[in-house]
Amino acid sequence: MTTTQYRVIGSRPVRHDGADKVTGKAIYTADMKLPGMLSGFVLRSPHAHAKILSIDTSEAEAMPGVHAVVTGADFPNVEDKIADLGEGSVNLAYLSTNCMAQKKVLYRGHAVAAVAATDVHIAEEAAAKIKVEYEVLDSVTWVLDAMQDDAPLLHENLLTDSLGKKAETPSNIPVHMHFEKGDVAAGFAEADVIIEREFKTATVHQGYIEPHAVVADYNEDGRLRIWTATQGSFTCRQQTAEVLQIPLGNVLVTPCEIGGGFGGKITVYLEPTAALLSKKSGRPVRITMTRADVFEASGPTPGSYMRIKLGAKNDGTIVAGEAWLAYDAGAYPGGMIGPGCMCVFSCYDIEHAVVDGYDVCLNKPKTSAYRAPGATQVAFAVEQLVDELAEKLDMCALEIREKNAVKEGARRVDGPVYPPIGLEQCLDALKQSEHWNTPLEGPHRGRGIAAGFWFGCGLKSSAACTVNSDGTINLLEGSTDIGGSRTSIAMQLAEVLGLEAEDINPQVGDTDTAGYTDVTGGSRVTFATGMAAYEAGRDLQQQMKTLAAELWDCSAEEITVNEDGSFSGNGNQLGFKELASQLFAAGEHLVGRATVSPECPTNGFGAHIADVEVDPETGKVTILRYTTIQDAGKAIHPSYVEGQLQGGTVQGIGWALNEEYFFNDDDTMANADFLDYRVPTMLDVPMIETIIVETGNPDHPYGVRGVGETPIVPPPAALANAIYNATNTRMTELPMSPPKLWKAMQSDPSAD
């Protein structure tokens, strides 16, 4: 556990962007207004799968107020090339045709044309006059159906890749993964108890409150300026430049304030289209998705089918695991099956394990990341099987987890061994918690626990700090601020320099001003961009030592930077601000800078406790109490860590109990709005209690681990275990909505 005492780190200063956010002054993309700006509207496919036979835009183009119309014919022909986006990669041909369909539409909502007009109503009216002739094709939206030999093929030339080996005949399966450790057959032979079950999870959406939006302004000199709601301005720049086949340096992306992303605002959807409309019209163009567009045309997270088997010895040691996973990729290859495979047994030290995973294309929107992508599905399955093993072995659910929890040195099923990690400490915190030690009583009530894991990553981040004449600092960084990261980064700079958080003025720069910075994702920003700010502060201190030596007539080696950030040497001592002011007066202007690229996973583990009450008449689940425990390494701003834990947990609760894409018989989405796609509100959840465990990450100067993603992983499993303990009904399908739970309770003779 970390014991170092800090001045700023661990405190809870008011966030720098707080006043703008609560007074409505923060600028979101939809707030942008530029002189002469047009409104764009995207015409989308009404069909789940169809060939585009022809598109006639003439009537739309002739409408008064219409300035430009674009279709797939206006997009450059992008070759089948894989582009590395820093965090993940993308096939550019797929990316381009996902932005605007060419010969086929692959899901309801797939863009087929777009109009720019003087207002959005004219644009929408004009779009309705575009004549698109389709040949409707058979479609498929269930992952196992899409894997059948006779399934409708989405991509006629798609061959399954098994780590570089291509299948001979096309299918909807772009990737097959396989991991193996130990001898699985021997492991199961050694087991005294074996449990195998099938699980299904529904397609769910991140549900960010702010829809996708963009403003594009294409200058006549070939420069393209974009304001957008993105998790990564640099990856947005790269994707837009690649899709439009224009020089990267010609594109300037300014990230506006963002109303949630959770992994769904990394891929570009509207940017290239808005840019082409702007180029054609000579005017800036703004496009904002409707909520239906967001559901139907941006990336949800995969629905899945899983068949998982676990074996344990009578003493509770889990000795063997086997997983067969099939995840939706959506309309294009590149889903979340990789991390699903890598996370399925990530919490338990299992000597013998095998995992097969399949990425599967089907007629849904292309899937995107969603907080710990791929991990929540497998946790829902494995954490229930672990509970079942415990029950059969007459063990406590916590005891079996404690016995098998991974610790430093345990080998993951995909190969690498864990460095120091904190799952044991999270389970210990759970065991000591007031929640765990308070009996749950009453009919139809049950308590469940579950563990969860997400890797967390480093990647590239930059920071620059300019010292003002009064010793305060303007901090420039490139991480879109989704969860208060401006402040958590500023606090790390303040700590190293001996300043207060309020002495730092953090700004998120655009792609022309900030140093290269990868996406706000992967639970990486407080870890990696915070590290960049720390290093920029160190850079500043080195410069100031050299200059102070001149001021104090001694050598730089004689200057000491003290723990409180003050400088001393040759009988002098000044705090950071005082020295900075003197240096400024002496004509020295100071800028500290740093780029970092940490490459170690931060390994975030958590454990959750859920208490529920199930209404036997309706199947409705009421959450009575919920506690989220997580190893943060070191909480820079505990309120923000708590916020991440609570937010991720509530999203996991929605995934568990209510959220799902419903499809009509023609495979179009039936519930593309927030009335019918039900995310939890404050009336649905109790106050989520949090316990922050701090084990310290040896790869960060202050011990930070990423915290943003792990909290969404355990809730469906913890709730399923709680529901079982309340009703004696084992739920193997998400969501565990009232009708499904009620039905399961009727069909399970052992149910209460």
Partner: protein, 87 residues
């Protein structure tokens, strides 16, 4: 000698051998030696002469982005694993 783990899907090339010891300074030397030992190995994990973007190399639990030029220490443990992205 670094310990290099053969991905389970490539063990058809290594006759089932799960790991080998290789004397190498960087990933390029490892890949080249593996390709000599198990012909076809390089083609399966490389694209345009570098590690395929769908993969990453783990060296002593560091997920390096340096691909073929990533340095390897004498007692390193090396894995080829899927590249992943978070939310």
């Amino acid at each position: 000698m670094a310990t290099v783990f053969i991905p389970s899907q490539l063990r058809e090339l290594s006759d089932g051998i799960p790991s080998v010891e290789i004397d190498a300074k960087n990933v390029r030397e490892i890949v080249n030696q593996l390709d000599e030992m198990f012909p076809g190995f390089k083609e399966r994990i490389c694209l345009d002469g570098d590690i395929a973007p769908s993969l990453q190399v783990s060296i002593d639990n560091i997920m390096t982005s340096r691909g073929m030029i990533a340095k390897v220490q004498p007692h390193s443990e090396v894995h080829f694993i899927p590249a992943i992205g978070g939310g």
